[in-house]
Amino acid sequence: MKRSSTRRAFLRAVGGGVLLAPFGRLLENSVAQAAGETLPLKFVTIYHPHGISAEYWAMKAADTETAFDITYENCSLQPFDDAATYGKSFKDKLLAIEGIDLLSNANGHDTAGCILTGSRIEGGAKPQNISLDQYLAVTKGLGSATRVTSLSLGVGNDGTASGVTLSYGEGGVALPKIIDPVKAFDLLFDGVVVGDDPAAKAAAERKRKLSQSVIDYQTWDIKRLRAKLAPPEQQKLDQHLTALSELEKQLGTGSSGGGASCMVPPRPDATKFPNLKQYNGGEPYFDAITDAHIDVLAQALACDITRFATLFLDDLSYADNPLGLPSDNHGAVAHPYNASPVGNDGRPGDGDPATWVPLAKFNRYAYSKVARLMQKLDALGALDSTIIYVTSDMGNPAQHSTRNVPTVLAGGANGKFRMGRRLKMQPDCPAMSPWCGPNDAAFTPVTNSRLLVSIAQAFDQELDAFGTQPDMALTQGTLSGLT
């Protein structure tokens, strides 16, 4: 990023190179922010399970692109316009997009891997290319300036199958998620000192020095072994070396002071979530885990500790859950959903309105977590410089349909996208043949690849396609109407 005059002035004032990354930067950012400058763009992707109750999500007849109501009863988008709960309305930071398709060629449950890759899921197992967050953060180096290049968080499930993973490295290699907020905190903030306490600074410096010594030895050891190996084997160690570089970046202890927007948050209270894993007693704690993840993430973004994050949410499938939903969200909320045409990819039928409400309630819960993140980021001055991409692996969950998936962009996006709107993409199929599919000439999907290209361009990347499809034209172009 080109440095502005305010930034240069700031760096001169504090002695330039003395303030090394990343904590010099966060102070630098807070100064820049105070001067009314644009902060570096950040990108967060949030997955929520179980698709969407479209009847309580899609635009109503009276809605227009810029004038729309999301406060009516049962509307799942309510949290974005709920000043009573979140301090202010975030409706002007919302862009809800209808009609995006995930062409995963896989069961809806295996499709999350398509969200940030735009790729078919190979053999139901993995996408075939890198995910956008990793492309920007790693391939294009946009995450290299921060302490943590990118962050992958999850609730309840630390698996790496394509159905539970958003972030992928080169070639579609799944990246694991951190499901323990304490571990996430330690990764992001361990060793960070904001303030002027000399004893704290000295202790942090010694800790850094010892850790650096260990990393130096590991690096020496790996390089020595690497020299004895053939190239294919060397690649195994290259990734290890990259991982060590990442650890090394995290050793920075920072400078004195810190901007108003940056402070080290308290370490999450692990007693609030004694179990972490799905199907292993973790479900009752998913809400607390989600909140803790979001609070840590918001602070990390505000401190410019990372600029790229994914968060894989889970449901609240346990008896007496706070939503008052059946103890099996999947079997008793998502599966019974019986949609009208708006939620059924245009197919006819009245559906069953009684089945729309429970799913809408769960959807609203997921969006309430996004609103929580927006509220925190806003308070920390980082919302305007963030793009939050919220979606699911399915549209209609009863059909396991990967078409018409609910797509929400949130945040200020540094003005790259015009927010405060609702968009509706063209239908996939003509009204006369709503059952059309990928093998039909009439099938005209709007793929998520276009959205990924648009987001990449928001990061000033010259890119015109993203993803892997048999018809590569489906991966090309931007999403119209965003800018």
């Binding site: 990764l187 260990v214 072994l225 053939a230 084997e233 990259t242 650890l247 199907y279 099996d328 079997g331």
Partner: protein, 579 residues
């Protein structure tokens, strides 16, 4: 540069062994002084530490390629390579080093799950990514704190003010020997002493030991098993340390003991192999646990604990899920101990080991009570008709003949099955229809282009329609009788079968299935399923066939453990080729 005299390692290992004894320190201290007089000794091959070259090591492999035994082709060798310890191997390794205190026993429980290849956790795809690197660093910090707590025993030093270096060198050499499964060379000791001094500077001797342990416990030397011999060449022989490490991890899932490492340090690879095979390697709980793990991973039944079913249809699943996993484990353990780990029995046993909960709720056997026990199951033969397999290869709401069929074809019979992605067709599962059985709905597969693959796949799967998506016996599906009769084609057990019991009985004596089993065991043990090593797999299968017991000129069964032995004993096992 001063070099540690490796000949003195023996004394150090004695110290480690005596550590557990009362007053061990009093004995150890003078030995340490003796062992680390640090006499200069020439290392004829600097930088050969990874492969490990003990004093007096065999000289024949130090330059160029080795001569392979007659009949062994270089193209059939596995490549010279490294592989990262799996999570389970890591845990076993730190436990072997540091004991079983709670802080040690739980240290890896939240590690990123292993990557899988063909279901197996031992594989060449394991990497250290940033998340795992962070977890390894945190674990090493936790473990090093344990070392420090016990520093008086693990790194004794009467007078750190004057002897810190000598004591630290002793610790690095002895702890490193066990952690790295070979002697450390001089460069490694020097580097680790730098780590020690970083902490000693402004800190204490104990802190220095702690930091040094922390470095060793996340080093490549600890985390990776090497199979590279002593020096790069077209064909190499593994070092004796590599041989016993490989065998120990493959058969017991844990590192070799320091005593064994000492015993083989001057041997060639073949003698090292014979030495470890001469121990009680194949007996006891470690080997049994390895057999259990390999078979569970092969057949995918280890996935059952991370599975959920639609509770509106399968409300009982959560009640017996853990017991299904327990059944597989206990069944395999009994199979290994009392049935010669017979493949035939694995696939067609008319018994299992279940507890009352599973037998009552899952298998409709109300008379069984109490803990896991041997019970007769004449209508549920072998592991493929057990709850775990039937639940894993099923959907959350209904059975999945395709998943069951493909699992049998690929994993048990080695019948090639195409991948729909390669056909660039949209996969649309048949829509739920409450008026039809699952089999009737899947009749859509028998027409058009689908039939080419699905006639084969579905017939394997339909045989199991007598069991629902959590393995309960059923006679009807959506109110209509289930049809489990199938016709299997294209295998050496082609024919018509009434149900899955009849099918698995035929499969249990099929040479094709036996060979398929051997191929999967090879992939589990060679830690690779890559196409590039198919010649190695073929070579192993050829050798394995020569080891099979015959009755009147025919083979009628194979042992699982015998197959593991055959892999270790195969001529190619101790050699590697350049990549």
């Amino acid at each position: 540069m001063k070099l540690v005299n490796l000949a003195n390692i023996g004394a150090l290992v004695q110290i480690r062994v005596m550590r557990a004894l009362p007053n061990a320190l009093a004995v150890a201290a003078p030995l340490l002084g003796l062992a680390f007089a640090c006499q200069p000794a020439a290392d004829p091959h600097p930088g050969s530490g990874t492969g490990g070259s003990g004093a007096g090591g065999s000289a024949q492999n130090l330059a160029g390629s080795v001569s392979l035994p007659d009949g062994t082709q270089a193209t059939a060798l596995l490549p010279a390579r490294i592989r990262r310890l799996s999570d389970a191997e890591y845990q076993a390794s730190v436990s072997a080093l540091l004991g079983d205190s709670a802080a040690v026993a739980d240290v890896s429980k939240d590690f990123v799950p292993d990557s899988r290849q063909s279901g197996f956790t031992l594989n060449e795809a394991q990497r250290v990514d940033p998340v795992l690197a962070g977890q390894l660093a945190a674990a090493a910090t936790q473990l090093a704190a344990e070392v420090r707590k016990d520093v008086a025993q693990r790194a004794p030093c009467d007078n750190p003010a004057t002897d810190a270096d000598k004591c630290a060198t002793a610790f690095i050499t002895s702890f490193g020997f066990q952690a790295y499964r070979r002697p450390l060379d001089a460069d490694e000791v020097t580097q680790l002493m730098t780590v020690f001094h970083t902490a000693l500077d402004g800190g204490s001797y104990d802190e220095g030991i702690e930091l040094t342990a922390r470095a060793m416990l996340q080093s490549a030397a600890f985390l990776y098993l090497t199979e590279i011999g002593k020096a790069p060449a077209t064909t190499v022989e593994l070092t004796p340390f590599e041989v016993v490490s490989a065998i120990s991890y493959l058969i017991q899932g844990r590192p070799p003991s320091p005593d064994l490492l000492m015993q083989v340090k001057d041997m060639n690879a073949d003698d090292a192999r014979k030495t470890i095979l001469g121990t009680d390697l194949f007996f006891g709980t470690y080997t049994r646990d390895r057999v259990v793990r390999i078979i569970r991973e092969w057949l995918g039944t280890d996935q059952v604990t991370d599975l959920a079913k639609d509770t509106t249809k399968y409300a009982d699943f959560e009640k017996i899920k853990a017991d299904m996993a327990g059944e597989t484990t206990n069944f395999l353990a009994e199979l290994a101990q009392t049935h010669g780990s017979s493949l035939r029995e694995l696939l067609a046993a008319d018994w299992t080991v279940a507890n009352g909960n599973l037998a009552n709720i899952g298998y409709g056997m109300p008379d069984v009570t109490g803990d896991f026990q041997h019970i007769s199951t004449p209508n549920r033969l072998g592991i493929l008709n057990q709850g775990a397999f039937l639940s894993v290869f099923a959907h959350a709401q209904e059975t999945a003949p395709v998943l069951r069929g493909v699992a049998l074809m690929r994993r048990v019979a080695c019948v090639a099955v195409g991948d729909p992605v390669n056909l660039t067709t949209a996969v649309v599962p048949p829509a739920p229809d409450p008026s039809k059985t699952t089999r009737e709905r899947f009749a859509a597969h028998s027409v058009g282009s689908c039939a080419a693959c699905h006639d084969g796949i579905d017939n394997f799967g339909f045989a199991f329609e007598g069991f629902d998506a959590m393995g309960k016996t059923r006679t009807d599906d959506n109110g209509k009788p289930v049809d489990t009769s199938v016709t299997i084609a294209g295998t050496d057990f082609a024919g018509s079968y009434a149900d899955s019991n009849a099918l698995v009985k035929a499969m249990s004596v099929s040479p094709q299935v036996r060979e398929c089993f051997a191929r999967h065991m090879f992939r589990a043990l060679a830690a690779s399923s890559a196409d590039a090593i198919r010649p190695s797999e073929d070579d192993f299968v050829t050798y394995w066939k020569t080891t099979l017991p015959q009755t009147a000129g025919t083979v009628d069964d194979v042992g699982i453990v015998d197959t593991l032995k055959a892999y270790i004993n195969s001529p190619a096992f101790i050699y590697r080729r350049a990549q």
